[in-house]
Symmetry: C2
Amino acid sequence: MTKPASTPGGLTRFRIDLAYDGTDFSGWAIQPGLRTVEGELKKALEVIFDEIQNGLRVAGRTDAGVHALAQVVHLDLGEEQAKRVKSGLPKKLNALLPRDIRIHSFERAATGFDARFSAISREYQYRINQSEFENPLSGRNQLWHRHPLNTQAMKEASEVLIGLHDFAAFCKPRPGSTTIRELKRLEISNLENEIVIDLEADAFCHNQVRSIVGALIAVGEEKISKEELSEILNGKKRIGKFKVVGPEGLSLKAINYPADELLASQAEKARNMRSLD
Amino acid sequence: MTKPASTPGGLTRFRIDLAYDGTDFSGWAIQPGLRTVEGELKKALEVIFDEIQNGLRVAGRTDAGVHALAQVVHLDLGEEQAKRVKSGLPKKLNALLPRDIRIHSFERAATGFDARFSAISREYQYRINQSEFENPLSGRNQLWHRHPLNTQAMKEASEVLIGLHDFAAFCKPRPGSTTIRELKRLEISNLENEIVIDLEADAFCHNQVRSIVGALIAVGEEKISKEELSEILNGKKRIGKFKVVGPEGLSLKAINYPADELLASQAEKARNMRSLD
């Protein structure tokens, strides 16, 4: 356990690590009348803590149908509430939660920790099933695309995306929000009947991973060349040359944080960079 | 496509290959008021063919929660019904079926074919997740068993099970039914955070795979030695020394049939061997 974090107002900050199967959720964020991860999590937390005043802050807001193998959330609790955090709490919460959400840990956060703004990078994985036949089990977390893809072309073309770019061509715009992101890693692996695409960036803008995967599939189908992909990126405009692929293949795999002593300064930096976000 | 099979009474036999995610089904066989694979399949087939008179014969009856990656079924259709079988039929049926059942093919069966009795062997796979944390996505098709298992001991002990044995110690008894089976293959593979157990037999009796896996887990936990496993097998009695593991990790992986000219004689042989089954 790291050093406790006290926030202004006598609240104590906690870090929750969790995983979920996104298939049957309308995404992360609470929406009235819809089944969401935040909504189910809040319900379970309120059984233990009564009211959650300041809400939950999530590291990676996931869209409807997108999964998380390692999501991170923080919440601030009052003095009395904080006393209810004991070692058996994840188990207790898991008994209250539906089976498609599993809490891995619930710990006091280190000083300066902010689930969203302290993160230095996010890792996502997109899985494409290349089997001849649709498989109902893997259909929950793989996109079924039976026509063979030229993965060599995909690998070569993907190089143009690596680095710091304005990814406006791959982002669903949000007013006042930047689309400049640093794509640190994009790896394409061939497994048996499966293509796995691993991506890591400081942060991803809305729809970015699914747009990039859609564009890479178009490359694999030899509809878009490496040069055209580069032109699309530099054009900074969303175009209809490729599809935004479905959410089923997408999983949030990891949120990376700096060493404890850098949590606060990283949060400050990110907050300024994406202040209008 | 193979040679058409005509059955007595002018019916034509068809072979259906399909897959399903067993999680939300009360097993294969139709049961009133319950959601079953056969029940859902029959409903969809009756949209196309009106009444299905002789029912469906399945190669491997799966229990509640057990999956199938490659299940085989046959059904006999009258002359008028058989005319409705066209190349687009699997797609049409998939549009009628819930997403957790997918039909791969629907073809005229070769002469002598019987989905159940012509089969020469069945392959099942059991997956054990050894991750520290429960994963809601893999929780649908893996047993979560976080405590490390001694897979070397499991591999060595599994040798005593290979071959032709009376598996009464591992079978839920069915009156008049033999528990003698030939276990042709039992392979234990270590993957990242996962143990995969592949089994092949002429046929499996009820609960056999899940009992064997339960016994092997007890071996992996060093609660049962190879010698004790051999004694349990030879004792031919069900004992409480190990658990029957849950259905979530179990998938029917393949049904193997002989060459077309041997389909009828294999069916005859199997029917005699398991006539009271």
